[in-house]
Symmetry: C2
Subunit: 218 residues, 2 copies
Amino acid sequence: MLVVHFHQLAFDSLTQMPRKSTTPRKLPQQDRSKITVDAILTATARILTQEGYDRATTNRIAELAGVSIGSLYQYFPSKEALITSLAEHHVNTMMAIIESKLKDLFNAPIEVVLHELVEACIAAHAVDPMLHKVLNEQVPRINNTNAEAQFTALLRAYLELHRDQIQPQNLDLTVFILERAVEALTHAAVIDRPELLSDGQLQQEITNLLLSYLVEKT
Amino acid sequence: MLVVHFHQLAFDSLTQMPRKSTTPRKLPQQDRSKITVDAILTATARILTQEGYDRATTNRIAELAGVSIGSLYQYFPSKEALITSLAEHHVNTMMAIIESKLKDLFNAPIEVVLHELVEACIAAHAVDPMLHKVLNEQVPRINNTNAEAQFTALLRAYLELHRDQIQPQNLDLTVFILERAVEALTHAAVIDRPELLSDGQLQQEITNLLLSYLVEKT
DNA sequence: ATAAAATATGAGTTATAGCTCACATTTTAC
DNA sequence: GTAAAATGTGAGCTATAACTCATATTTTAT
């Protein structure tokens, strides 16, 4: 079951004008309203993945959720707020998977950490590939989540701890490359070449890529 | 000056229904109409980059192009066709840069090819980073261009020729990883961390990443 | 029991963007 | 010169999707 997640005011990257509020009009208090909010988010995800972004009108979403359009706007001040809320929930779900898989590996050797990182990233992308695809294609990039920034910091700390065992010394660049490469390759595979993920081949290959870059080979 | 580029009928990935035609209503024949078409495409790019996707209405585009809305629809059957045309032109421009930089390196050593590949990719992304960003965020992924498929084949042929000098043996996977990694890292840098590209550091680092993966180190 | 608060409803308002079309102007062909 | 073809025009049509609001129902608190 989805859990609601509300976020803060943001600024449009082009106009620098504040976006219209994405905070909810009303916080659901009783159980029935929580069910309503959940039904709306679930319906949104379902329509996005099965009918496409163009069909995801607020009226259609309310219809599939089995609630009135008025109810939708009681909890989401705008369509953008609704989509953003769903997107954040999805990102948080993915990040939770990754963090739970890596949280106890701070003292593990590099080979293990990279192996787990790649595995975790692939697992995270398997949560709802179609939703992931649609959100990535249609939703203006979400400001780096807290969870993501936290993870970046954690990875950096790990690299600092193992600095003497890794080849590249500009950790800023290294973190950038590791994170982006594993994300992009996993993402591309999930979207365009899912067959590459069925056996473990691509996973192994991505791991090799990162490992050979990171560790010094005599 | 932009050069018009028309493309074929495609199918929507979700609904499997044929998309509305994206071929032009009329092919421009006289010089003045070619100027019109060019003005429309230029205005589109300008509005997308400077005012944002939401402001890129067909009426606004026609206004900035200095032509009537009727003229716009004389050459582009739909807004989608216009945007797609612009996107294709942009992709082709980028691919042309990459191909021209790599075309004579078929017999060059791997280190050189990778170095040039990364350099070319960064150069291609420098053509119009803001347009590139907007198109990537807002335009449903364009079907792999001919140019892109051709390039993939070329890269694969090169790897086959140098098979004995590279570590990974599944060339299908290797091509996938090389192409996607260099594209994704360059793209991410251009969009989110342009400062990383000012000196050659990131370029060198990406090259190292690919090189250490590809070539066997004693 | 009942008042107040929370939640639900959906017909209707509003805005706007894509697009048409009847007509005007310019160019080309002969 | 003139007919036909190419090109240009822009007021306005149409569709639709986001969102409102007056009203109804349900739940909670006392």
